[in-house]
Symmetry: none
Subunit: 207 residues, 4 copies
Amino acid sequence: MAPVKNNKNQNSSKRDQILHAAVDKFLEKDFYQVTVTEIAELAGVGKGTVYEYFSSKEELFKESFSYCAGIYLQTFKINFAELASARITMEDILVTHLNLIKENRNKLHLLFNERPQNLKELQAWILEQRRELLNELTGLISEGIRLGEVRSDLNVDMAARLFLALNQQVIGEMVLLDNIAVEEAQLKELLDLYWNGIGKSALWQGH
Amino acid sequence: MAPVKNNKNQNSSKRDQILHAAVDKFLEKDFYQVTVTEIAELAGVGKGTVYEYFSSKEELFKESFSYCAGIYLQTFKINFAELASARITMEDILVTHLNLIKENRNKLHLLFNERPQNLKELQAWILEQRRELLNELTGLISEGIRLGEVRSDLNVDMAARLFLALNQQVIGEMVLLDNIAVEEAQLKELLDLYWNGIGKSALWQGH
Amino acid sequence: MAPVKNNKNQNSSKRDQILHAAVDKFLEKDFYQVTVTEIAELAGVGKGTVYEYFSSKEELFKESFSYCAGIYLQTFKINFAELASARITMEDILVTHLNLIKENRNKLHLLFNERPQNLKELQAWILEQRRELLNELTGLISEGIRLGEVRSDLNVDMAARLFLALNQQVIGEMVLLDNIAVEEAQLKELLDLYWNGIGKSALWQGH
Amino acid sequence: MAPVKNNKNQNSSKRDQILHAAVDKFLEKDFYQVTVTEIAELAGVGKGTVYEYFSSKEELFKESFSYCAGIYLQTFKINFAELASARITMEDILVTHLNLIKENRNKLHLLFNERPQNLKELQAWILEQRRELLNELTGLISEGIRLGEVRSDLNVDMAARLFLALNQQVIGEMVLLDNIAVEEAQLKELLDLYWNGIGKSALWQGH
DNA sequence: AATGAATGAGTCTTCATTCAT
DNA sequence: CATGAATGAAGACTCATTCAT
């Protein structure tokens, strides 16, 4: 009897090599500027082997994208059970998000730069993920209201959107585009801005 | 009286035909998925004619991008002379921005979706434009502080960034991604959120 | 009555402008690397005007070639009437040829470098011209025999061919390829070589 | 015994198929009139396959040219070791050269007709080869002087050039242009012409 | 399972030529 | 006559995908 080859793991590891190589390449260049050949080379496999594990370049791109997105989305997965404070949770999210961006500088380019307009399926998936994210945040803010930390007269959906934009556009661009060395202290400032607004105390606001 | 044919503009109009066709196509698909032939057809001219007016497909893309960006950037050109109120100016910006997005739904997709990674020159131009935008907004907020509307203890740069994100990501995504029929009333809500923050009145915040 | 415009000369001069521009360009680059546009520009006329005077680029090339060849071929047009000495005539030809090459360095490149393989008609014309040239030279050598200067036991055709090669390949390459500053003194050496051969005196040769 | 299939050469043979097809085509038409598709078809391979073996059409042309030139240049590789007679060596060269021309009628057209003006690298290589050829011949003639066959008062370089022209232009044109059935007997006549010159015995020359 | 040689569909770009003005 | 804007045929080259080994 022939020795049992652990095909499952062998394959999975080879598949992973290819996937990681693809992610690296897609992060570096446009979809149309990455060639299957160079992915294969980076993965250290033959060109034909890529097609053993992925049906097409497009498929490989989708999986690369989802892989990166998956890493990213964890940040916002909040556990509401026994949530003590919305503000503190938000602070945690900001910190986690910042670290994630710093640690995955390169990987995130894929998420922010590639908008595969013709991959409708993937487009839909992205929208869906964003919607879920917004739902999480809406829940978080509602919880804040219940806890008495957040004012109850605001539009919860908008507040969630602004918090998302705070994370993605504001922090994202500070770190990735402007190369500002953002630290926790600055996150506190940002959260304060978000929490208290820019206007002079609301007390006098009405007058 | 016979209609006057504006011969002068005939040429310019042919160039414009091509440019508009290109914008349409680039909004619809990736740079690499749009063919020059397709643009020529949509513009109603021969393929060679495209090259009479634009030296290459890349050049045509850059001009399409700049064209869209140009339309967009007007929104933020603020005149500080005799600025009466930062808050009212911000309201104006939000309204103008919203209208612009609504009127140019399609055109703006290009700005937000295409990030031509290999067009370094264009990349640099985009960064430069964004920086100018942030400067305008920083100026606006500083003016608000001078006028006593905005609290003086905040980080002006961050406030500017958050206001930009409010416009671009929050409003942009509501209109373009989620197809929400945003009206002026909602802009007020958004501005209020930005102005006063989400927390309970700062007065009580400390207690 | 309208003033009489001297069309004949006007045309001829414009035609010449174009022809000279074409010659210049064809001397500089391959047929396929010269564009009609650049010929028109150099001639200072519109692109369409070229087609007023020449039916096609190919036609224009043929005329350019013939023009250069015509200049060249004069060198060998010998007047046999009252020919005093074949040797002196040959010396004259060498001198004339050398001067021609020096004076028309550039123009001659066309003759030597362009061999329009697909212009059968032109090919035939070239062969015909070469044949005529050889006939002239054969006549010259025969005359030399009649005058008792040239030995009568040689193959007149071959002698003519070698004299042509002496002019074209030997002198041509010395001047045009190797940039040797050939002077009349050296032509004498060459003619001596041709006249007396390289072997030790014929007297001993037979022994 | 089953025929051994030489797998090793299979690859080389595919490259050769393409090279030979290219040579055939380039001999038939100008560089710019030969299409890669046409070469691929003649070679019996796909268009893409050409680019597997040659990086560009230009590269393919260069290799075709060098290939033909390589065949040609062998003729003049002379072994001076124990050279018995310059005259006999020259006779050998003429014979070899003639046979080569006859056997490779077509291949040599490429060498004589195509002067790729824009392939500077190739141009340089050609000049270099010609220079080496002249050096060989200069050496041969000097040897002739040492052996007492050749007169010592001549310009060795010029003599070498004339001998080269004798081979290339005279014999070349007789065979290739004028379709004369040149035989060894005629080569003797030619060599005699070169050796003794056309003039009456040098002895009487001065008188 | 793994490979990479072979393929040809698809694209940008050039440029001779035409023709309306 | 003179022009040059418009054209589209033609060709080099790329690269995702296949398939024989």
